[in-house]
């Protein structure tokens, strides 16, 4: 039945994110739909982790995907994987939004943001990627306390390194190196390759 002489349906090749993004770059809106379906949970989850407000998170997620669509022709594979490219865009937009919102509210929720940024052992009910979440939690656990706090405040809290330095009461130079050392250690613990 499956031998060379059996009648077989046409075999079609799998599509990677790389290939989908390449098709999106040529204006293929069907490929864009597939790219959206594959990347939207990660984009929305990350944005929501930083912004916490679901309505604003939807707005920013929408902005991110419009930017993906518009700038797909400029994507260069040498500068990172498609998912890193999209998530970098998502994180930057979330951080920019939290900072501008914060400026307009006179930074009145600094304490709330700090508290939301730090705990990592609590997994939100809605988080889908539990296995990845556990791996990240374990990797964060392998950092020194200061590295972990600095990375978490910056990445999940959206704080600038100057703010992290104030929050933790350590010099700015120390914060810079701790964020960098912490990320390098996470890279190794998570086996990230590019």
């Amino acid at each position: 039945m499956w031998g060379p002489r059996g009648r077989r349906a046409r075999v079609e090749p799998p599509a990677t994110l790389e290939r989908l993004l390449g098709d999106v770059a040529h204006g293929d809106d069907t490929a864009f739909e597939q790219l959206y379906d594959r990347m939207a949970p990660a984009v929305f989850g990350l944005v929501k982790r930083v912004l916490r407000d679901p309505a604003q998170s939807e707005e920013v997620t929408q902005e991110v995907f419009l930017e993906v669509w518009r700038s797909a022709p400029a994507y260069e594979a040498g500068r990172g994987s498609p998912s890193a490219w999209v998530l970098t865009m998502a994180h930057r937009r979330a951080v920019d939004r939290v900072r501008s919102a914060q400026a307009s509210r006179d930074r009145d929720d600094v304490a709330a943001r700090r508290d939301a940024a730090v705990p990592y052992d609590v997994v939100g009910e809605e988080v889908e990627a539990r296995l990845e979440h556990e791996q990240v939690r374990d990797a964060l656990g392998s950092l020194t306390e200061l590295q972990r706090q600095a990375v978490q405040l910056a990445f999940y809290g959206g704080y600038t390194h100057t703010e992290v330095s104030e929050l933790l009461g350590v010099p700015l130079g120390t914060v810079k190196t701790r964020i960098r050392d912490g990320l390098i250690r996470l890279r190794d613990a998570l086996g990230v390759t590019t």
């Binding site: 499956w2 060379p4 799998p14 989850g45 982790r49 994987s81 990627a129 979440h133 810079k176 990230v192």
Partner: protein, 246 residues
């Protein structure tokens, strides 16, 4: 700021912890520093893993809204790519399967959530299954293979090497018959087939189901219609075969 100081900003830059002026200064530095460019690429990939671990299903209305806007939004021009000149955009493939998958999955999760304690064990199994499906669909390395099903509808196999699992997503599938079932198969290069489980589509012809067993050396996933309960080996002509190992 000296170059040595700038090098140390790679981490803060990768997690967007620089203010606007510092960000601009560091980006100018990146243009002339391949070491920092490489480091930033790696650290951003690391940050992306932290981000992906937060994956959460977005509301369905967001999808409709994004796709509607994209239809009226022009793209940037491609930079210096003569090969793309005059190329007509590809619009051939028509797959809304993953949308269907997301909808079916959301429905399954709602079902699980409202099931109640009486069906606790079934519920736990379905939750585990839904979580597995979801982690495959959202995996960064997931690949999608899709094809038309001979008896109607379309089938897609989403495979993630990192998750070690595949999910079958079908839409518009015909009812297989009262005493029949659909059966999935892992096929290796020699043509030998191993069962990857049976399923019946929902009344609207949709299905999202994890493939059972391990892909091992399978190069193709096939679909046949078999007598209820499934067969040990395929007994009918396949209605779909898609390549799963590029």
């Amino acid at each position: 700021m000296s170059d040595a100081d700038l090098h140390l900003l790679s981490g803060a830059y990768a997690v967007d912890a620089l203010d606007v002026d510092e960000r601009a200064a560091f980006e100018r530095h990146l243009e002339t520093c391949p070491t920092c460019t490489d480091e930033v690429r790696e650290l951003r990939a690391t940050a992306a893993v932290l981000g992906a671990a937060e994956a959460t299903t977005p509301p369905a209305r967001l999808r409709e809204s994004v796709l509607a806007q994209v239809r009226t939004t022009p793209q940037q021009l491609r930079e210096q790519d003569p090969s793309s000149a005059g190329v007509v955009p590809l619009r051939a493939r028509s797959s809304r399967l993953l949308a269907v998958a997301a909808a079916v999955l959301a429905f399954a999760l709602v079902g699980v959530a409202t099931w109640g304690i009486a069906a606790h064990q079934t519920s736990a199994r379905l939750t585990a299954q839904a979580a597995q499906v979801s982690s495959v669909l959202t995996a960064a390395d997931a690949t999608t293979s899709t094809g038309a099903v001979g008896t109607g509808g379309r089938g897609t196999v989403v495979t993630s090497a990192s998750q070690g699992a595949s999910v079958f997503v079908g839409s518009g599938l015909s009812e297989p018959g009262a005493d029949k079932t659909y059966q999935l198969w892992y096929i290796d290069a020699s043509g030998s087939a191993r069962s990857a489980g049976t399923f019946r589509p929902a009344s609207d012809g949709s299905v999202v189901t994890p493939l059972e067993g391990e892909p091992r050396t399978a190069t193709t996933v096939g679909l046949t219609v078999e007598p209820a309960g499934g067969s040990a080996a395929p007994t009918t002509t396949p209605v779909l075969a898609v390549s799963v190992n590029a």
